[in-house]
Subunit: 230 residues, 2 copies
Amino acid sequence: MSKPAIVLLSGGLDSTTVLAIAKAQGFQPYALSFRYGQRHSIELDASRRIADAMGVAHHVVADIDLRAFGGSALTADIDVPKHNSAADLSDDGVPVTYVPARNTIFLSFALAYAETVEASDIFIGVNALDYSGYPDCRPEYIAAFESLANLATRAGIDGARTTIQTPLISMSKAEIIRTGLDLGVDYSMTWSCYDPSAQSTACGQCDSCLLRLKGFSEAGAEDPVRYQAR
Amino acid sequence: MSKPAIVLLSGGLDSTTVLAIAKAQGFQPYALSFRYGQRHSIELDASRRIADAMGVAHHVVADIDLRAFGGSALTADIDVPKHNSAADLSDDGVPVTYVPARNTIFLSFALAYAETVEASDIFIGVNALDYSGYPDCRPEYIAAFESLANLATRAGIDGARTTIQTPLISMSKAEIIRTGLDLGVDYSMTWSCYDPSAQSTACGQCDSCLLRLKGFSEAGAEDPVRYQAR
């Protein structure tokens, strides 16, 4: 029987690629997604389709409400930035779309889930290149969470190890896409657009769409997602 | 103006004492409680009364659903243990009331809240003596979370430090109670009973009630909470 692993699945391109990698490594994936007051719940719908199509053992959508704390363009009522510009970074170089402590919260839930299904591996699609402005996407952050995980849980007391798997951490977007295509990922199911008004077609203009389109272009592949006419 | 601090407030005796300590140290407390599928929501009602009576700057009750993962007597439909017995510990000596990764999840939310209100201190009422069986109540666990916090957030990038304050970590229950009484804590507002059938009177028989009663006895004080006739 294959080993269980938790895979954080947002419904975007990166986490879907991570799910394919976990499967290719022989893990039995348990997918975990969050309803956290994000404005684009279309991502959650995508995560459900992907979990279903890629045959996960189970898919949990956990409800958490980060809006109680405020603080980010992805959960609050401020404009999502279009195009890259200096205005999209706060004074300390952190993108305005940064959600306070988000990956810490997501990984904490993954840890609870891992303990419940006795998984010793947690997969997360963080990337230190394209998201270098996010403090909780850095390798030293991931290492610190792994240390914490091995002190936090019953498994830690029993001497079992928890590993935070970050297969994308040093890949470019093009490398991520090439990896996924090699593994047969159907990227038409994934959703990356940050624009809350976008429905079945992506805006093609927000940071996330631009990064994705650039990645497909550099990978020499066509993005199967539909974009609004520009 | 006093410095903001996040105080994790369950509505129990320990966290209420911690709130009093944070205030005595000159912090402006922001209280954070959780609705996490616990069977005794009477604790949450207590947290609201306490937050109100003790004049916190703000009280957030965050919704999270740990039931999605299963795994503990406090959130699942299994009997809450009465009295201490070998049956209350699993094979590895961890109490059956342990919730997977609970403190990690709670501290993660506290970290998000701290970042939002620009607090550099998070108070949590963990105790390494009375709850020695819980992996996430150990000092080394708290130190690991503090390290993580200082890598996880925007504040960490800016060079600001986050401190996890655990004033109760090496106190006995009697010492906690004496400390709280010295600070004028009204313990009649607090709720400790784990028995879900208990309403306005505590059962007096579950582990939590017994520990509390022993603490008051050793502190030479009377517990103002009402107990069911035995």
